[in-house]
């Protein structure tokens, strides 16, 4: 059956039938007398021309069907010529020599054309493989495509491509075709390669390493179930292809390395951004930990911090681990984090389950491989950052440790900044509190003493004006003027006292105070001031009420003094979790600075105070304004 199929394939080709026609023509020429007479007129009487012409179908067959086709045709040509030599030719000895010479030349043609075809075919294969290799930088895709192309062009049935691990830790099977599952699934690359070269199903096989700059970086194995001496002849071709693969593998890895480096740099920038944009540990450290995990491909992460007050190490930030582990504490120097914090250098544990210093709770959580680095800033160690693998071992590389060490340092800066910020907030709160107490004292003094004295003075002046005592003629008029002056002073002192610390704020709370403040603005400045409350009205903590009052007071003062507005609306919205307050006017507006520090530069201390008061409550303050478009101050404070 295979022979019949083979013959069927040959006879179905047009070149076969052209060869048949050429051969038939040659036979006619060789045995037909009129032709001989025609040739005889040119003094060619010994059929030498036709014998040479017979080389043409031999060359054609070599081109169309390879060397075997050429040799078969040559044998046929010799058989065609022999009857003339022995039966017709008047010079049989000469004719025989000519036939032998023709056969020899024919063989040379077959050999040369075969060699040419092989060289052309090799070039074609190399070109096809090169095309595939240069198509993209996706290594797995490239190697799969290359294997397909090699098998197709070299007429090989099975094959596999392995890559050497970058740290020489094994071979990875990247692509394979027509191999049994036991060699490709569930076995390591090293074992698979050894099994493959022992595989009885591939009687003929070739294993060639791929190299770049003389260093092996992969392996190509191709083979056929039947003996195939032709494959052996192609060792050089396969070696060339493997060298090309080796160069592409190295280039791709270099490209991946650069891409990875860029990604690392981006992530480090991300870490720095996080650290510089946030001053609260609860926000910074979980993000830093997750970035670290992403960079090294870990399953989870832990941040351990040194609790100086309790003299223990705690694990406040965990990712992909049970929350109960946050309650675990160990003494200084204990556990992997303790060890790393004490030694001040990174440590990698390949198998945490067998690690002598393992914390039992983490063993139970299923930690397998762990890489831990200290969180340091200068000489001070704050804790340790760990990334981990669960379920199966992951070899954290030196590169991973280098990345984590850098992140550990950034995290150290974050922790130090956060501690400094906490201290700053503490002192700011204390200063604000002291300032408020002093304001309250002065306000009370003004109210209880100064205003009362002024009222007494006013009453006495009134009494003097209405007394029966004889006064100089101009005196009543002067007394009335003094009375008016005293009344004005009383009003100004009362307003000043209220501005310093309105007693209504302590007695009735924020909302009535803001309502009063708005009404006062309406009366004084001729502004259309409005106050709105959204949500259920209620009292808030004195700290929040005082801060929001001061912010609203400063905002409304700004409207009165600078905005040239005709209308201002103050809105307070109370939700379950936050207070949203806005003060919006239709005044001339301005270009608000993008950063708080710019406010200090232009001397806008009132606005800085508003920002700081909002931040002290853990909230935010935003000023939206444009020249000619009014101003909106938005405050959000969590409860």
């Amino acid at each position: 059956m295979p022979l019949r199929n083979h013959l069927g394939k040959i006879t179905s080709r047009r070149s076969f039938w052209i060869l048949v026609v050429v051969l038939a023509g040659g036979v006619l020429l060789h045995y037909c007398t009129p032709q001989v007479r025609l040739l005889a007129s040119y003094s060619l009487t010994r059929h030498a021309v036709e014998r040479i012409v017979f080389i043409l179908p031999v060359a054609g067959a070599t081109f169309a069907f390879g060397q075997v086709g050429g040799l078969v045709t040559l044998a046929l040509v010799v058989l065609i010529m022999l009857p003339r030599v022995f039966l017709i030719s008047p010079y049989p000895a000469d004719a025989f020599v000519e036939v032998i010479a023709t056969a020899f030349i024919g063989y040379l043609v077959v050999w040369m054309l075969g060699a040419y075809k092989r060289a052309a075919s090799r070039l074609e294969t190399i070109s096809a493989v090169t095309t595939v290799l240069t198509r993209s930088l996706e290594l797995e895709q490239i190697l799969n495509d290359v294997l397909d192309r090699i098998l197709e062009m070299m007429d090989v049935e099975a094959g596999a491509v392995y890559l050497l691990d970058e740290e020489e830790q094994g071979l990875t099977l990247i692509a394979h075709r027509n191999l049994p599952a036991e060699m490709t699934e569930g076995v390591s690359g090293l074992k698979s390669a050894r099994m493959l070269v022992r595989y009885e199903g591939l009687k003929c096989q070739l294993a060639v390493p791929s190299r770049s700059k003389g260093k092996i970086n992969g392996l190509l194995v191709v083979g056929n179930p039947d003996p195939c001496p032709s494959l052996r002849r192609e060792v050089e071709l396969v070696t060339t292809i493997c060298d090309e693969i080796g160069v592409v593998v190295e280039n791709t890895r270099l490209y991946e390395g650069v891409a990875r480096q860029l990604q690392i740099e981006r992530c480090v920038c991300e870490v720095v951004d996080e650290i510089t944009s946030e001053l609260e540990l609860d926000k910074v450290l979980p993000k830093v930990m997750q970035i670290a995990e992403r960079l090294v491909g870990a399953d989870g992460g832990i941040v351990a911090l040194w609790d100086e007050e309790r003299n223990v190490i705690t694990y406040p930030y965990l990712h992909n681990l049970p929350r109960e582990l946050a309650d675990v504490t160990v003494f200084k120097g204990e556990g992997l984090s303790g060890e790393v914090m004490t030694a001040g250098r990174p440590t990698v544990i390949d198998n945490y389950q067998t690690y002598a210093g393992a914390v039992p709770a983490f063993v139970q959580a299923g930690l397998v491989s762990v890489a831990a680095v200290p969180i340091v800033s200068g000489e001070r160690t704050f804790g340790a950052l760990s990334v981990l693998s669960l379920d199966e071992a992951k070899g954290f590389s030196d590169r991973d440790v280098t990345i984590l060490t850098g992140i550990g340092r950034e995290a150290g800066i974050a922790v130090e900044n956060a501690y400094l910020y906490e201290n700053m907030r503490f002192y700011a709160r204390r200063i604000t509190q002291a300032q408020e107490n002093e304001r309250r004292r002065i306000a009370r003094e003004l109210h209880d003493d100064t205003i009362q004295s002024l009222i007494v003075l006013s009453r006495r002046l009134e009494a003097l004006a209405t007394s029966d005592e004889r006064l100089p003629e101009a005196a009543p008029q002067r007394i009335r003027e003094l009375q008016e002056l005293t009344g004005g002073v009383i009003q100004r002192v009362r307003r000043f006292s209220r501005d310093l610390r309105p007693s209504i704020l302590d007695d009735l709370g924020l909302l009535p105070t803001l309502e009063e403040l708005t009404a006062d603005l309406n009366r004084q400045a001729g502004l259309q001031a409005e106050f709105r409350v959204l949500g259920a009205k209620r009292r808030l903590s004195s700290e929040v009420e005082l801060a929001l009052f001061r912010i609203a007071q400063e905002a409304l003062n700004n409207v009165r003094k600078h905005a040239q507005a005709t209308r201002v609306v103050t809105t307070v919205e109370l939700t379950d979790s936050a207070i949203h307050m806005t003060v919006q006017d239709d005044g001339r507006g301005f270009n608000p600075p993008t950063l708080t520090k710019h406010l200090a530069a232009v001397g806008n201390l009132g606005l800085i105070g508003m920002y700081e008061r909002a931040r002290l409550l853990g909230g935010t303050l935003v000023v939206e304004s444009k020249p000619g478009r009014g101003t909106k101050v938005i405050v959000n404070v969590p409860i």
């Binding site: 050497l164 050894r194 022992r198 392996l219 494959l231 052996r232």
Partner: protein
């Protein structure tokens, strides 16, 4: 003992025990490359595998030349004499390998 059993049960554990997992993996990787690119029978491949390990500087520097040579012989002997006969028969029947 066949090649794979010798590698997996004797050579690999011994290397991990002496050199640690990382160096052992590296030695086994290069030895496997020698194994697969040796163009002869399984015994010759196995011997190339053993030689690759025993000629490695990291091994010689730890074990010393004498111990390494003795270890090489010991590992080579793991296959036993019958393995050579079996391999040779297979090579004869295998055609081009």
């Amino acid at each position: 003992m066949d090649t794979e059993t010798a590698i997996e049960t004797r050579i690999k554990p011994q290397l991990i025990n002496t050199f640690g997992e990382q160096v052992a993996n590296s030695l086994l990787t290069w030895a496997t490359l020698s194994y697969v690119t040796t163009d002869e029978g399984d015994r010759e491949r196995y011997e190339a595998f053993v030689r690759s390990i025993c000629f490695d500087e990291r091994v010689v520097s730890v074990w010393g030349e004498r111990v390494t040579a003795r270890q090489e012989e010991e590992w080579k002997a793991l296959l036993g004499p019958e393995a050579r006969l079996v391999d040779n028969d297979r090579i004869k029947n295998k055609g081009v390998t």
